[in-house]
Every structure is written in C-alpha cells, then in structure tokens.
Subunit: 145 residues, 2 copies
Amino acid sequence: MTNPIIRELRKEDLYNGFLKSLDSLAQASSMDSSKAQTVFEKINSNPDYIILVAKVGERIVGSATLFIEQKFIHDGGLTGHIEDVVVDLDFQGQQIGKKIVSRLVEISKSRGCYKTILDCTDDVMPFYQRLGFKKVANEMRLDNV
Amino acid sequence: MTNPIIRELRKEDLYNGFLKSLDSLAQASSMDSSKAQTVFEKINSNPDYIILVAKVGERIVGSATLFIEQKFIHDGGLTGHIEDVVVDLDFQGQQIGKKIVSRLVEISKSRGCYKTILDCTDDVMPFYQRLGFKKVANEMRLDNV
C-alpha cells in the first residue's frame, strides 16, 4: 500500500503530475503555462479554496478541491463543496482518494461548515457512502456553450 | 401575473423580505443584525457571488444565488453554481423563480462559465428541466455537526 503525502497544492506541482492527473476529468494539462499560473494565483490567494494533492515520490497522483461558500441561511452558515476528486489510474485501489476526501472533510469541519456536499455519478456513490455521505438530491446541469 | 423587478441584492433588502423568504429553506431571519450585515459585506465585495432578488412593490418575494467557481479543468474554466432558490409561498406559480434562475443562467454565460449546475430534489426537477437543465449526477451530503 503506497503511503502518499497529503498536502496543499503548491505552484511547483502544476507540472509535477497535478494538471496531468486532472485530464481524466477534463482537459487541464494542455493549458497555457501562464494561464495555469494565473489560475493558481487566483485560487491560492483565496482562503476559501483549498486544493489538496497526494504526492508519491516526486509525483502528484491525486487531488481534490474544497471551496467554502458563505450563505445567509443557517444563520449565515458556511457550506463546504468538494469538487474535482481524481486519482491516477495506476494508483487507484490504494485508498488515496479516501485519504484526500477525508482530510477535506476535516478542513470543512474545522472551518465551521455545517455540511460538506459534493456531486457524483452512480458508480462512485458507494465510495462516498463509505465515507459517511448520503444521497440527498440530484445534480442538474446546463451546458453554457 | 405579478411582474417583479429582478435585480441584485442590496443591503436594505435584508429586512425587506429577503432574509424572511429564505426561512423556508433554513433559518435566516433570526440572524443577529450585525452578523447579517457582515455576511452581506462579504458576499457583496466578492464579484464571484451574485444574489438576485425579485421585488414586488416594496417587498422581496424571492431570490437565488450564483457563485462562480474557478477550476483548473476545462483549461482553467469557470463553473456557475446556482444555490438557494426561493420564492415566497404566496407568490409561487407566477414564474418568478423561472425569471430569477434564467437571469442567473444569462449571467453565468456572460461571465464565461462553461456550465451552470445546481442541486435539487426530485419534486422540483421538472421546473429545472423546463429551463434546459438535465440530471447528470447525485448530490451527496455529510452533516458536519
């Protein structure tokens, strides 16, 4: 069982496997280098975005994002949204996704979010159910382009 | 058919029906006044949060939030999230929700988001389907408290 280091994304990770591993969700690694750095700076300067990566050796093999939404409901409460959970194919089955998501849930709790939510397809529902998530609703999507 | 004004939330709306109408989702109007203003300032100063309200006469009778998430995937793309859609019970059936959500979708498009997403329960799926949304996944939730 590989024991990855789980830590926040750093700029040097962009070309160390991070963008490449996101490609399995949607194209990321072909992004222009200056744009990737601009996105990094925007996200990194916002304390309400937390991206965790899993590092094995010198390579990023998985990641996920938490962003914290300020609401008026729940007496001005906060909601933690988990997005873009990914683990490289050749590192799956080693609980790396579980470690990243669990850590994000801890951060969501420590930041005072009253709930943590995410959207997932049917095939990965059991994975999130094992982590304590329950299905409560449907994700609806409208493509803008 | 009532013809509401749809516009961005202003501070004076907080006690003009806005917080009260949110109560049907989860408690909001009992929030301490200074906290409500702090939440307003935080949201209002962030260009990636847009709250639209529907005003009929002097009263806010509905609202919804769009927040814009910066991603690395889709070549550093943006996603529009619609949250907390609400219309007062005595103003339902007058297409007010449709007007607010449609306007938020326009804003999501004009801001360059490649998709607009939201979570909803089964009972309101037809409402969003009529606006062009399609079910793509499941919303999973973990209560943090």
